[in-house]
Symmetry: none
Subunit: 221 residues, 4 copies
DNA sequence: CATGAATGAGACTTCATTCAT
DNA sequence: GATGAATGAAGTCTCATTCAT
């Protein structure tokens, strides 16, 4: 990892704190969070009113502001835990172990995809919100870039470099391959979200097949 | 094209009409459109106020509503022309010609990517708005699905089927390959938008290289 | 008539002038007036927009303001002629002749009712507007009071006094009888307007019959 | 009563509910209602702004919309209770008792007038609003027709028919007499409202005297 | 802690009126 | 004279936020 001292800005600090809270939350707070996730995922942050969120959560409107100073802080409390889950040392160690294993690339990627996709599909509405609102809230975008993206990029580059050196991958630009891996994943995810009815059962496997087949070197194949 | 009678719903009808208008628009209308594109692309539809759009366009707020009955109609006037440009018969013919040519897949995809990417990058803010707001406005999503997606899917499947039959592509599921092509494109695009600073010069080529290498059959390679 | 010098205030002056105009009006002006009558009678003055009136008249919105300085002046131009028709010396002479005739009260009232009801039913929408808007525009109410009401009251009192003196009417308070005559008329009119479906053929005659039967002295009946 | 199942339409249902509320209203709600009555009676519904009503009530404009979803609902909350008071079974029983008594018509009508006039003069501004706005809001007019008018008409016709049969009233058309009674009352009321300065002390009595004298049979008089 | 009435800034929209063409 | 685009004040209504209970 080239960036060993990620700049944890204030936003992330708050997010970290709210993560800690999420386990100690009262039942009302959890209902508010759940309600907000549901509604904001459907209508967007600016399209959702605190009154609707409160009603849907079965609490008084004022109760929201007892737990979250502002509406925006409620948003942070939704997306923060996602960022932290993705980037948490605990989970990151798993990722690092997978990536640094000597297993064939197929297995590594497959494990990686599964690992990430589980996280994503379990938290789909939150991820949707995270991706949507990152476009409008620079501080969220910065958190993603400073944490997920940077780490992911570093890990990916390491992985790709090693595999190229070992002769498993074709000697294309490292950057390009890393980007290809990530953007294929991202594209697959966005595509399935946008056009759910088009989705087939074994699409993931076909796409990984194609991706790896495209990346890997052919040894006397 | 399997879908020879695309369902042009009411929304699209309105959009078509507004496209025609775009060339006859007065200077004020164009200033309003330009201002709205700028602001909505940055803050989202719900995050942008008509008063800000008006101020930025240098017109009175009331003037917006002389030209666009509601704020939503202004949105349609922004995204409509994009849909129409993408789906217009004129341009579609180009696409069909490229796809149905006998050229090697590399050239076909390269032309296709360039053709589409030009359209996209020339209208980047509009495309951003289109993609973002489609998530919150079902009628926009429907227009995309009923027009772009359906056509694209049909064209792609034809192309892939032919290439598999001719032995150029590996005999993977047609659907999967088509989806891989589109989602790779989409992923590349979303990725470059989300993390512009990460973008390299020849990324497109690397990605196409990988994609095709992954898809194509290896003949005694 | 006790009040021989009616106070013609400024409002009435304007109304008089607009009456003169009504005959010299261009076709557009007449279309505007006709359109305004139609729409304001249905929706009230404040509920009608100049743009709707213009559209309905087939003229540009600006054209209204070329002919009527303000929207209110347009209202005056609608109701003014009514006031003047009701109070104009020409027509007043007719009324005076009817009232001062020696004919039996039945004939006098019948003539009077017919004379007034013709005027009213021929100009029903204007009369509706006049009555409605008088409640909200004191200057219109003043015009009515200073002209119609005062004259009508004076004429009525004279008529009633004479008939009481001649022994045809019962010696009730003059005021009361006059008011009874007018308010019966008014009630009949308002009632028929409010509940048109309840209206019978010969209602007027029954009501006059009752009214006069109630007022007249019984000579050896 | 011929119409034993009055059609209580949705509007009336809402009105009924709002009546129940009127007693449980908070002080602010009552101030809003009082302020709205005052201002709308003077300027009409369309001529009154919610901001003026709020200012006059000493509350924030938003407070109005916390208690009444729309401006129109505020109007309903003003006129509804009137309709209900007039038509409420409790009061209707009084009316029926009066009308079905065997007392001479003078006493019946006098009691009736007093009973109704009290109700009206106690709620004069509301009644004014009710009558004015019924002209522009068909749903209000319908409520009046379906409730007050229908009931009143049925009661009146019964009363008149009985009195004609008993020989107390002249054998004129029942309809006509009923209409005469109501429209005389209405005319008297409208007249006094329109020209308050003309009003004398004992006008009601004179008018009832004339009305009844006109309706009643003369027995060897 | 929780409530929900109250707030007032600000959102979208309408409208009477003006003015260059 | 007629037009209709442009205006900006004012209208109705929503909303995040506060605070007394």
């Amino acid at each position: 990892m080239s960036e060993s001292k990620p700049l944890f800005d204030e936003a992330i600090q708050n997010l970290l704190e709210s993560l800690k809270d999420e386990k100690d939350m009262t039942e009302k707070q959890q209902r508010i969070i759940a309600s907000a996730i549901e509604i904001i995922a459907e209508k967007g942050f600016n399209g959702s009113s605190t009154s609707e969120i409160a009603k849907n959560a079965g609490v008084a409107e004022g109760t929201i502001f007892r737990h979250f100073k502002t509406k925006k802080e409620l948003l942070y409390a939704l997306v923060g835990p996602m960022l932290i889950k993705f980037a948490s040392p605990l989970i990151m160690k798993d990722v690092i172990r997978i990536i640094e294993s000597e297993a064939p690339a197929e297995d590594v990627l497959q494990s990686l995809y599964e690992n990430r996709l589980d996280l994503i599909t379990e938290n789909l509405p939150r991820v949707k919100i995270l991706m949507q609102e990152a476009l409008f809230h620079p501080e969220i975008m910065d958190s993603i870039l400073n944490n997920l993206a940077r780490q992911g990029r570093a890990l990916g580059d390491n992985f790709v470099t090693e595999r190229i050196e070992s002769g498993e991958f074709r000697p294309l630009p490292t950057n390009g391959i890393t980007r290809a891996i990530f953007s294929t994943l991202l594209g697959y995810f966005v595509f399935s979200q946008a056009f759910p009815e088009e989705k087939g059962e074994d699409d993931v496997e076909v796409i990984i097949d194609i991706l790896l087949n495209g990346i890997k070197e052919r040894h006397g194949d």
